[in-house]
């Protein structure tokens, strides 16, 4: 079993000091250790953004794709080798703006993977424009008079779209976050972990302090039942999604277990030659 150290790379991170993404990285590495993962059988798909650099700092197989396309890449990766532990990670813009369509479809498809969205309510890498999760009124260089868009509510959407595992963590609350990621990985299906990961440079509204004041922890509510969908939706509505913990989970059979004829041996390792019998069976329709 790999140690925390083994999941680290020698590379110095490119994030600003104090960036929430450090905490996400640390929690991910802890979760990987906790589930007993190995660097060589872990594959991480990262998007484009400050957040997307995360893959550079984890010792594992990493693919850093185009902006917004982590989830289709992760789908291909997982179907290509179902033995891999597949994680996808990206920012709120990557996930909920350009990546929104894929997000909705990944939820309903339910391939076994864990999706970690590093949500700072802003576009970090492009220097501070509004993001889909930015609050209305948020002022940026593209919205000098304040944003007039109403924010995307990713947790509510995920539950509505048919998610089988939805959680939210906070970069500062390490033990819970690591636990949530671990549970997401252990969930046999698509797990969304939206992580509040403050941008100290471009978001002066949704700061660490602000979150510490506004977030409530579902773990502290003994009455909250994460298996109850209507309750989950109602709680998200009342709290404006300012919660941490597992929001919703249900029993699930992953997509890849349902594909007709799909074998247990990963596609990448199969012998790809087609035998004569199968071949003739196929050609028969062209006779």
């Amino acid at each position: 079993m790999a140690t925390l150290q083994e999941f680290k790379t020698a590379e110095k991170s490119w994030w600003c000091p104090g960036c929430g993404d450090f905490g996400v990285l640390a929690a991910m590495q802890k979760a990987l250790v906790a589930v007993g993962a190995e660097p060589s059988t872990t594959a991480i798909v990262a998007g484009i953004g400050c957040s997307g650099k995360l893959g550079n700092y984890i010792n594992s197989y990493n693919i850093h794709v185009t902006h917004g396309r982590t989830l289709p890449a992760a789908l291909g990766l997982k179907l290509g080798n179902r033995d891999l532990l597949v994680l996808a990670a990206g920012g709120d813009g990557d996930a909920y703006a350009i990546g929104m369509g894929h997000f909705m479809h990944a939820l309903r498809r339910n391939v076994n993977m864990t999706y970690i969205v590093m949500d700072n309510h802003v576009y970090g890498l492009t220097k501070g424009q509004t993001s889909p999760t930015s609050d209305s009124g948020f002022k940026t260089k593209t919205t000098p008079k304040g944003s007039i868009d109403r924010p995307v509510h990713p947790l509510m959407l995920a539950v509505s779209a048919g998610a089988t595992f939805v959680a939210q963590g906070f970069s500062s609350w390490q033990p819970q976050l690591a636990r949530l990621i671990q549970q997401g990985i252990e969930h046999p299906g698509f797990a969304l972990i939206n992580v509040i990961s403050p941008c100290v440079t471009y978001n002066k509204v949704n700061t660490y302090d602000w979150y510490k004041k506004t977030l409530t922890n579902l773990d502290d509510d003994p009455d909250y039942d994460s298996h109850n969908r209507p309750q989950a939706l109602a709680r998200l509505d009342i709290t404006d999604e300012l919660v941490t913990g597992i929001v919703y989970q249900e029993e699930s059979e992953p997509y890849e277990a349902q594909i007709p004829g799909f074998r247990d041996v990963p596609l990448a390792h199969q012998d790809w030659h087609v035998d004569d019998e199968t071949w003739n069976q196929i050609l028969a329709s062209f006779d």
Binding site: P39, I63, V65, W279, L283
Partner: protein, 584 residues
Amino acid sequence: MIAWKIGGEQGEGIDSTGDVLSTVASRMGYFVYGYKLFSSRIKGGHTTYKVRIANVPVHAATENTDILVALNQDTINQHARELSGGLLLADSVIKPTLPDGVKATLIGLPLTEIAKAHGSVVMRNMVSVGASAALLNLPSQPFLDYVESKFARKGDAIVQANQEALMDGYERVKREFAGASQLRLDSPVPGDRLVITGNDALALGALAGGCRLMCGYPITPATDIMEALSKWMPLVGGAVVQMEDELGSITACVGAGYAGVRAMTATSGPGFSLMQEGIGLASMAEIPVVIVDTQRSGPSTGMPTKQEQSDLMAIVNGGHGEGPRIVLAPSSPEEAFEDGWQAFNLADTLQTPVLIASDLSLALWSQTVDRAQLNGPKVTIDRGPVLSAEQLVELGQDTFYRYQITADGISARTLPGTKLGQHLATGVEHQPSGKVSEDPGNRAKMMEKRLNKLKQVHRLRDGVKWEGPSDADLVLLAIGSTVGAIREAQAILQHEGHRVAISWLRTLSPFPVEQFRERFQHCGQILIVEQNATGQVGLLMRAAGVYDDSRCHSLLKYDGVQFFPSEVVTAARPLLQTFVEVSG
């Protein structure tokens, strides 16, 4: 050689009628080429299905028709002129009339009525087939056998009703129109053959070449590839995923390519445009992936059911920045099959996206192919340089250099799951280790490394095909389905006494410059025949520096209709005259 055509409204069973005829003719030992005219709508709208039948291979569409089967007057009005003395078989219920000036023998049969008498109007196709068989002076037994095998699963009653409908049509013609048809095919040439479209052949090639994941999004005329693989993948343990769009399709294939599985997507123009970004990612991160563009009339939605070869520029260099792409161009089902598997070998060995430029006519129209040409189990699978954990241990480096600079630009990769092989594959510029880098020196080296890989392509594959004398007075040059038309044009011109060769490009990118120069050094004029408005094959030649203004001529067609050999012949003759005059 006989040309048979049926016409009516979409949704009236035209397709199955043509399919039966071509399949039976093929089983009898004839070569067939079957193609349709259809619209981007589901029911209604005029449609035709033409089948050319001969005892030699047929690869092209032609203008004239020997037997026209008309289910409505519209068909007669639009197509009777093609007959020039041929036979017009029409459903008498439509009260068929011949347009002025058209010479043809009108054979009226109550096709619909006969079908109904046998149980249902859907059997009209069997009546038509039977009547057609009689007019073709073919025996009825092979048709009866076909009906038996086709409907066996549906029970004896169905088999019998269809056979009876077929024989009713057959016998009525024999009886009521005895001697009306002088048509006779030369003796068949028995062989082990199939009737197949380019799409199906390509899908077969991919499957044989190890493709085990297909991620796609429906689009005419590419959808068949996904549909065929949807049927076959369960047999080999692979998967087809219908994605939410083409952005997803290409990226899923890139993810799969990184995992080490052979993955493919197939689309047409609009979807292809959406894939440009994802293809660039594969180029940059050096991930194998195969993309098929079955071209249709563009731009934008264009004419989705019409032929064109107008995506070439987009396929060859339509992405932002400069990433290596290999572009193959099959011209027949046999070549589509070959490219289907070779694409994966090229993608794996050169670690870069391989694009297949197909076109609607190649993709959709069925033709006869020798079964031996589609030998899936015999296909070679070359996975390119992949290191195992053991090899990594032997290497003894503490970092794995995924993008090591090498003489030919190709670096060994490791597949996720391999111990010690962890690395970062990224669309951002990177060092040999995979780590992101903005260093100018590294950048230049990496650009050269990636582009250099393309030099290997021509070693692995013959990029320029040639048929005919190397010192021909005229070479007809084409790509894709148009090769069928130039081949037939060549035969006509040779028959007229001209020295004509044909040539076609099998690899569009990197352009096979050396091979091209060598092939074309001794010939005279060159007529580039292509189906687009801007002469894109010519542009590729210009970019490669092999376009010779003094010898090259261009024949373009961009009306959505595939080339007829006669059009090529007409354009070619003046060039040959010039030659004769000059040299004579």
